[in-house]
Amino acid sequence: VRAEVLKGHLDALVLAALAAEPAHGYGVIQHLRRRSSDVFRLAEGTVYPTLHRLERDGLLKSRWTSAHGRRRRVYRLTRSGREALAVRRLEWRTFSQAVDAVMA
């Protein structure tokens, strides 16, 4: 999948990845790869501007934790984040069903 296509949906994918459990940036990337069977591959650093923006928008919260002697920033969804994810899921289902209907 081209990076440009993936970037358009990165916000929703990151929210969905964090819906299961709080995670750090690397964990989010791994989740996206695993769940997409390695289809979603993007420059890993680009997930951080997205995480920071979603946090500024109040959809995520983060805090420093300590793991294996390293400082690690862990992100989790807020209530607004869960609501935004529900809206994005609905939009995606409507969109993908329409695309399927046209492409079939």
């Binding site: 750090h24 940036g25 690397y26 990337i29 420059a43 890993e44 650093g45 680009t46 951080y48 501007p49 920071h52 923006r53 500024r56 390293r70 400082r71 690690r72 920033r73």
Partner: protein
């Protein structure tokens, strides 16, 4: 040069400093301890991605904060102006120090109106960009110029009315002079704080290409894109309002002066404030 050192340099290049830069570097260090450096992406592109989004967010946020500070200053300025009107306007040359009276008079009349117009223009653009992820650098620059002009003129107008009250203290009640001088000094503080925040936001350099846009892009309604005709219409409305306020004695003179002031400011600041291209 290590990847993190290069990322640090690139973040500094785009104006990301302090706590945020440390946080980005700490997160990158944690990530690279587990992942591949090659997979993390080009440090220059990553730093620019942060800056593009941050510049838009910070400049827009500062514009809203500045407008709130200007609204408070504007309300206090209007109250002080009303106080002078109720006590009777002294002659601009009757103060303790003649040039000061003239200067403060001009500053009160001109700067207050420029601050109002520039603040309103900044608010219009900030509102339009409020959900934009990364606006063109040129659009952000215009927004910052509007905000800075509004803050500078707002602070000048507020200080001018305080100075005017002090210079003409013999013509006003003691309590009025004290309240106006103290109030004007106090109101400069939030304006200066907003100006400081604006300066910090401007340090972050967006690299998004695109034009600066103008007033007609910012307006929520579609109008014909004739900047000078728009200016003349605004000047006519301002002149009419001034005429109505001045009555038959002073109205015509004040209306002409007001109309000329609007057109003059448009000619001098129109491009800088992104009203015309």
């Amino acid at each position: 040069v290590s990847y993190l050192a290069e990322l640090q340099r690139e973040l500094a290049r785009v104006g990301i400093r302090g706590r945020l830069r440390r946080r980005i570097l700490d997160e990158a260090a944690d990530h690279l301890a587990e992942g591949e450096q090659a997979e993390f992406g080009d440090p220059r592109a990553l730093a620019q991605l942060f800056a593009d989004e941050l510049a838009t967010h910070e400049t827009t946020k500062v514009a809203f904060v500045a407008f709130a500070a200007l609204a408070a200053a504007g309300a206090a300025f209007a109250a002080a102006w009303l106080g002078i009107a109720l006590q009777g306007w002294p002659d601009f040359g009757s103060g303790a120090f003649l040039p000061l009276g003239l200067l403060t008079g001009i500053a009160m009349l001109v700067c207050s109106q420029v601050a109002f117009a520039a603040g309103l223009l900044a608010l219009l653009r900030a509102w339009r960009l409020r959900h934009t992820r990364a606006a063109p650098a040129a659009e952000i620059a215009v927004l910052a110029r509007r905000t800075n002009t509004a803050l500078a003129c707002g602070a000048t107008a507020v200080l001018a009315i305080g100075t005017f009250a002090l210079d003409n203290h013999a013509a006003f009640a003691r309590s009025y002079v004290l309240a106006t001088v103290t109030g004007s000094l106090a109101l400069v503080v939030p304006l200066a704080a907003a100006a400081f925040a604006s300066r910090r936001a401007a340090a972050v350099r967006s690299g998004v290409p695109g034009g600066p846009g103008d007033l007609f892009d910012d307006l929520p309604v579609s109008l014909p894109r004739h900047a000078w005709r728009f200016c003349l219409a605004v000047a006519a409305v301002a002149a009419l309002a001034t005429f109505a306020a001045g009555g038959l004695d002073e109205g015509p003179r004040n209306a002409v002066a007001e109309g000329m002031l609007v057109v003059g400011c448009f000619a001098a600041l129109g491009r800088r404030l992104g009203i015309r291209r």
